[in-house]
Amino acid sequence: MRGLFAIARKELSIFFTTTIAYAGLGAYAFLMGLVFVSSLNQYQQRTAIFLSQQQPQMLERLNFNDAILTPMFSTGVWMFLFFVPFLTMRLLAEEKNQNTFELLMTTPISSWQIVLGKFIATWVLILVMSFIPLVFPFILEAYGTTTGTSSAVEWSPVLVSVLMATLMGSSFIALGMLMSSLTDSQIVAALLTFATLLLSYTLPFVANRLEGDWQTVLDYASPLSHVNRAFQGRLLAEDLVYFLSLTLAGLIVTQRVVESNRWR
């Protein structure tokens, strides 16, 4: 256990002594802010239109969750596509490139400790990334007004969204780390991760053109279909299983690849 935490602490300290964490989290927070502001603007425009058209029934249907938060989270998912490869690319590729992999191989720690330690450290960053957008519902809650007695923001869908974003992030880290274990070039690791994720993101668009079983399969294979349900406030066991099994599979294969260095 100690070796695992030593690895995790070392990774985190490198994330924060270099500019990776600051640049990554800073850029992400800024972009999410932009997304939030533009969703908010659209919301205001719509309210203005409905008011001018005297359509109270439309106004009643308009709420912060559906009109601002769900679109914001859906856009945020695309940020993960760009940010995760940058966080994971150096995890193992850099060790191999800098000869520090030999240090890990010659000290009494197991491959699982190496892989899980690195996973946990990156997961902490993903956790922060998933929680950053929580600022926005708080702003809505503080400044938004509501007609009824309930609060302006419905919190359970928001929490489900954050949870699912974290789980999706975990599966992306596992994938990114696997790619990083296969090469000693960080660029290649980042590109492979990005390409795989991009491919998985486009699956629902392909599925739309298909029918029958293929549509179901492709739809199920894409992380987008799973998170989007969560962003609408639906927490399904199926979606949890999808991300958890992807994470586990990625970690197991990565461990095998790292371990293979001992017998190749």
């Binding site: 070392k10 800098q98 720690i109």
Partner: protein, 236 residues
């Protein structure tokens, strides 16, 4: 302390080392000599458990390297050819990290890091990023790392390569200090003969994957200067 029997490593068609046999007694300081590509690094990697052998056996402190690698790794301090340092860590942070990996007891960690830093002469750069210290210091940080946990066997792969003459002198003095401690067994690979003469009592020489000489330095030098012996054996 180190027992090697019939050790062989093949990469596809290439034979890196072919049936090496040697043993090193506790407290010995042995120079592992040979031209580039003779199989020195390969042997050292196998001994430290970072690479498997194709066939043969190796024991360190009586423990089989292939059967119980974790126990062997606790006994060995290893300095690879290029110091395995993280450029974005401070010297202190790096040594503390390696101490954790080696399982140095938590209570002794601080004193142990200070001890090896002093021994390797990096005690005054502890708070600097490794990125910002010179090559010679990185090499010494690598040495400090190998000394952590007070291993009984030290394996060092060309510790003075790429250093300037003053740094070489300093590293050599460090090696002498390390070798004076009778509890430590040292296997030192190099192709700088003066270094071997200064530090080691015995030489194991390999060329093209075979052992071509294994004797005390004094014995080898009886016939001709070490340089000549080396040149003759390397091409023989």
């Amino acid at each position: 302390m180190i027992e090697v029997r019939g050790l062989t490593k093949r990469y596809r068609d290439n034979v890196a080392i072919d049936g090496l046999d040697f043993s090193i007694q506790p407290g010995e300081v042995v120079g592992f000599l040979g031209p580039n590509g003779a199989g020195k690094s390969t042997t050292m990697r196998i001994l430290t458990g970072s690479m498997p052998a194709t066939s043969g056996s190796a024991k360190v402190a009586g423990i089989d390297v292939f059967d119980r690698p974790m126990e062997v790794k606790r006994k060995i301090g290893y300095l690879p050819e290029l110091p395995p340092v993280y450029l974005d860590m401070t010297v202190q942070g790096y040594l503390a990290f390696v101490a954790d990996l080696k399982g140095v007891p938590r209570r002794e960690k601080k004193t142990e890091v200070d001890r090896v830093a002093l021994e390797a002469g990096v005690d005054h750069v502890l708070n600097r990023l490794i990125r910002n210290v010179s090559k010679g210091y990185r090499q010494r940080v690598g040495m400090a790392q190998a000394l952590l946990g007070d291993p009984t066997v030290l394996i060092m792969d060309e510790p003075t390569v790429g250093l300037d003459p003053i740094q070489i002198q300093q590293v050599r003095e460090l090696l002498l200090r390390i070798g004076e401690d009778d509890r430590r067994t040292v296997l030192l690979s190099t192709h700088i003969l003066s270094e071997v003469k200064a530090v080691c009592q015995r030489i194991i020489m390999v060329a093209r994957g075979h052992i071509v000489a294994d004797a005390p330095i004094a014995e080898l030098e009886r016939e001709a200067p070490l340089e000549e012996v080396f040149a003759r054996l390397a091409v023989s």
